[in-house]
């Protein structure tokens, strides 16, 4: 079921939590709301759920498909909601938790006891917890509790599944597993889901489209690939990954900063260039158009790459470069070693520019 938000805004007291915004989510889409804390992402999710009322701005509306749910109470919106801290009913067994929505139905639409049992068992099977039906939430691990909470939310076959930082309270490994599993479940059952996260990796990995938010505004809505490659503005660029900053002044096509030099095709004047860690190349000698001397302070292998921390007296804060293991071994990088950086490409966000400017340097 598609979701359409029109002119939705929210103020708490005097502070504006959400500036008036429109958002369209297609049927069957999995959309991530990504932003730092205080960006309004959770407020937006709670407004979609009906747990929070949007301001009475003119023309405000929330549609689920053709159904106008703007003034529909949360209990009648037919949504499933998964809370960050699971919000399980602690005095009920896992089975009763999952069955709650079904047993809460008015008598005439409530399935028979046998049917409820069959349905709950099917759900528990789906979340791979069939052996835990008689346990109480306190006897389960965090990941298991979150799966119960998911089964509970899906019991009523909601049109829309909303998840508030669903994996926020879990450790990295479990988070990874649950993420993949949710994606799988989503593709299999075909509901429309919206989830909130502050973890860019999670948003990029899980979503069909990501809504990046900050300060109650939507900064960009795009699929993960476009978002990463063509960030709309500096905020999105910085929020989506580590950033190395180079500030200096340009004269005659050369940017200088202390004893660092880089050939650029930019007008004269102060400039700021941004680079991703994987866009830095490390060399033993300066190249023709870049002379950026740095010292290695730390190197740590993380998965398929090596993260190298670099300092220099012309840098106000250390840089981070990621290399392939092969390059790392070829250079024989050790702590304290002096090297030269050559950026493969750089990004620049002017005050006026709406889309970022990117330049690839061919070497």
């Amino acid at each position: 079921m598609s979701i359409r938000l029109t002119n939705i805004a929210k103020t708490f007291g005097r502070s504006m939590a959400l500036e008036p915004l429109d958002l369209d989510i297609a049927d069957g889409e999995l959309v991530g709301l990504l932003g730092p804390s205080g960006s309004g992402k959770t407020t937006l999710l709670r407004i979609i759920a009906g747990l929070e009322q949007a301001d009475r701005t003119p023309g405000r509306a929330i549609h689920f498909g053709e159904r106008d749910v703007t003034n529909v109470h949360v209990r009648d919106r037919r949504i499933g909601f998964v809370f960050q801290h699971y919000a399980l009913f602690r005095h009920m067994s896992v089975f009763d938790n999952v069955a709650f929505g079904l047993t809460a139905l008015p008598r005439r639409s409530r399935p028979s006891t046998g049917e409820i049992r069959a349905r709950v068992n099917r759900l528990l099977e789906m979340v791979r917890l069939e052996e835990f039906a008689k346990r109480y939430p306190a006897q389960l691990s965090g990941g298991q509790q979150q799966r119960v909470s998911l089964a509970r939310a899906l019991a009523l076959k909601p049109d829309v599944l909303l998840l508030d930082e669903p994996f926020g309270a879990l450790d990295a490994k479990v988070r990874q597993d649950l993420r993949r599993w949710l994606r799988h479940l989503h593709d299999e059952l075909g509901f429309t889901s919206v989830f909130v996260t502050h973890d860019q990796e999670e948003a990029l990995e899980l979503s069909d489209r990501v809504v990046v938010m900050s300060n109650g505004r939507i900064e960009q809505i795009d699929d993960p690939d476009t978002l990463y490659r063509q960030p709309a503005n500096r905020f999105v660029f910085e929020f989506l990954g580590d950033v190395n900053r180079l500030e200096g002044s340009v004269r005659d096509g050369e940017l200088t900063c202390g004893d660092a030099r880089l050939s650029v095709e930019l007008p004269d004047g102060p400039q700021e260039l941004l680079m991703r860690p994987h866009e830095l190349k490390l060399l033993e000698q300066p190249s023709a158009h870049a002379r950026l001397p740095v010292t290695v302070t730390a190197a740590s292998p993380v998965g398929a790459e090596v993260r190298v921390e670099l300092v220099a007296d012309w840098l106000p804060e250390p840089w981070l470069a990621t290399l392939r293991h092969a390059d790392f071994e070829r250079l024989g990088i050790k702590r304290g070693q002096r090297l030269f950086v050559e950026p493969r490409r750089w990004h620049r966000f002017g005050e006026a520019a709406t889309r970022g400017e990117q330049t690839a340097i061919v070497s």
């Binding site: 949360v74 209990r75 919000a87 602690r90 005095h91 709650f100 109480y136 509970r152 019991a155």
Partner: protein, 298 residues
Amino acid sequence: MRVNEHFELAFNAVWPSAGGSRGRTARVLPGFGLSLGITLLFVSLVLLLPMTSLVGQLAGLSLAEYWAIITEGRVVASYMITIGAAAVAAIVNALFGLLMAWVLVRYEFPGRRLLDALMDLPFALPTAVAGITLATMYSSSGFMGRLLEPLGLEIAYTWVGIALAMAFTSIPFVVRTVQPVLEDLPGEVDEAAMTLGASDGLAFRRVILPHLWPALVTGTGLAFVRSLGEFGAVIFIAGNMPYETEITSLMIFVKLQEYDYVGASAIASVVLAVSLLLLLALNLWQGRFIRRLHGGES
């Protein structure tokens, strides 16, 4: 110190697995023997010793004499009045105490801290002050009494007055036991019930109340036990008419004034036994419930 060491040795002999601070299993927190020793000493001095002497008073009585004293008509009438009024007070407190705890925990409003502090007033106020205030207010010439009398409602010098005074002195028990449990219940839990389509009533009945139930029952039980023994607040408003508005504590007091220490002790022992049994039952029941909530064997 010597006494304590002695005790620790004895303790280790009885429960070797508990282990003292110098035992085979080293404890991380030191001072187990010392602190338990002091605790038991204190309990003995303040609680056990007086209670033992109370039971000791009864030694001179034969069983038949004891039975005669505690089943005398006027005394039995006082049991009925005390238990009836305490039960009414406890039930009223359960309802209003729950509501007050709910208001204090779930809402932000100006004066919330003041209301929170007021909850403890019945603990701090001398009960006699409460009794006199209630008696003057609800007597036929008092401010409330004058309002209620034309409606045919008499409060002072009836069992209603007794229940009122009992409710006044014991309300903090309910509020203060329910409040922390309610604070512990995240607001997300009622939201979860709502997203699953539950009406407010259903969410309260099936999600919130079961969670609060142990605390509510314990608080109400404590309020009830406290009301059974209440004296100061009640006697001023009770009117103390034999067979009608005499409470059991007053019967003990009357016996004492007649220098009938044994009789007083006999009645007191009944109150003590009932209170003790109730508290013990509450504790056992609550322990079972809490184990389930925190993930022991179900």
